[in-house]
Symmetry: C2
Subunit: 363 residues, 2 copies
Amino acid sequence: MSAARVHGQVRIVGAGLLGASIGLALRDRGLDVVLADTSRANLSLAVDYGAGRPAMPDDQPDLVIVAVPPDVVAQTVSAELVGNPVALVIDVASVKAGILAELVATGADTARYLGTHPMSGRERGGPISARADLFLGRPWVITPTAQNTDEQYRMVEDLAIDLGSTPVRMTVDEHDRGVALVSHLPQLVSSLLAARLRDAADSAVGLAGQGLRDTTRIAGSNPELWVQILSANAEPVARLLREYRDDLDAVIDALDAPAASGAPRRIAETLAAGNQGIARIPGKHGRDDRFTALVVKVDDRPGQLARLLTEIGEEGVNLEDFRLEHSPGAQVGFAEINVLPDAVHHLAAALQTRGWTLAEGER
Amino acid sequence: MSAARVHGQVRIVGAGLLGASIGLALRDRGLDVVLADTSRANLSLAVDYGAGRPAMPDDQPDLVIVAVPPDVVAQTVSAELVGNPVALVIDVASVKAGILAELVATGADTARYLGTHPMSGRERGGPISARADLFLGRPWVITPTAQNTDEQYRMVEDLAIDLGSTPVRMTVDEHDRGVALVSHLPQLVSSLLAARLRDAADSAVGLAGQGLRDTTRIAGSNPELWVQILSANAEPVARLLREYRDDLDAVIDALDAPAASGAPRRIAETLAAGNQGIARIPGKHGRDDRFTALVVKVDDRPGQLARLLTEIGEEGVNLEDFRLEHSPGAQVGFAEINVLPDAVHHLAAALQTRGWTLAEGER
């Protein structure tokens, strides 16, 4: 493990998933990490995990990281600014403008505060353990204001790099609008869709396929946490929901008179706009034009999938993405293998020679 | 391959994905399959693939399967009823009520027509090849009316079983309401969400995570096909969209005044209703209470995933579901492994002993 870019003593307030994970990672890099939590039980657990040591009266942190629930971030940041008069105080909450406004309104020393947001996939929820690699490969948004110095920005950038994240500089408003779009809107759209299933006929939900499962997966998120997140970013989320509703109304109008002039075109335009929208999502996931999918039938018993992947490795082909889909009710699954286009013909032929049943393209 | 339950000669009209796939599967079972298509090129291709033989003047099919695009199903069924005066004529279109109504209105012999819908995941789209196992393990909805005989129903049930499907008996209206809920509503919800990305800032879409990717995956579907499907099921879909919009309006109202009395509760209830909704989806997928997830870090190079799955097999543990998630921008991925709860502690310990880095629960 190379030496940390961050120097000095780091104090973490809130020893939950994020706080304890940051502590573990910084301790791995040899830093002196001081932990605080209003819950003695949480604190003991985090100390036992190796996320840091309990605070002592003469601690003098250079950096304070506030990692408490969204609704108490601003008051905690205020208290830390007062209690640590020379430290830079940052938070890791998923909405930024409201916290800054509350700090300004209460006369906090905002020149020593910097808002940040590690996009650590925490929204997928569930009681999971803290881990040092939680931030690995994820964006860490840093939202400096005109009051912040370059030195302060670099300190947080160093922190993000130490934790394996990619620092992303944005304004407070850019960030809040961004997460409203890529995180908060999808959450509500998915929850509202899943809510329609609650009182549906058994016969109807029995027809559910992969499309419904994917679209509703994040509807399993924690309601208590999400009320805080959505309430804190209410205005940008409400604005997107209104735009969404305008498009929805246009589709409802078209479906009310599907044979009317212009109705099919309006529906087609909505669907085409969706095609164009997903084309803008970067990365390896989803319907990525850079890769070609092979679908291979896999029996649902131990060793089959391992054999398939071993044989793909033997053919010298690297998997770009991979997904296993079970046919409902059947002891058979389909492995969707995404590889570079120039590897697909060789791999398809090789797998068929080895006895696998396959079809090119997505199912 | 065991003998077919279906007897006699089968005529398939429309040699596209569904028609050719049915033909391949029935030919595998030794049946005489006759193919027809208005496109000579499609027909030749399907015959070359082995999906059947071209129609001849003295053919006398016992069963006619109409597998043409949604907007020409009714007229094709009518023509086949006239042209084959003793055969049972079925279709495989994804919406049923409109076709039946059109047949009744045009005076067709509806006592020899039976509507069906194989839920073959065709909505995931893309130009994929026909395959005999397309229907394997999927529900095949059969929608008999009071005019149909038990013998006719059994003939279609036998067809579904021959193709490896699970026959599901529903009324026409039950079916159309069911697919409106589990297929057509998710499609529109996902397309409308993805449409919001089209003109979004690069900085915003750069923050996209797995939640957005999953929620928008089906937004890549073919607009032309979906206009036909949605227009054909307009009334049930519009009704669900209105219910969806009512819930959406309640959320918008709550977000317009997030501190108002009752607003947080209204948002929380929407999210909780989503939790309850996804709990109703059957099967192995998604957040399935029957399985426990282990998350294992996997380096992004050939052989790593195969080694992991081989070692899981060596531990005697069966994978119930599996998913690989790449961290954006990093040469590292996370394999989410779903296993039975009583296997998880053994497997977690064994994998750690073998040197894998893991965290229990979903990321």
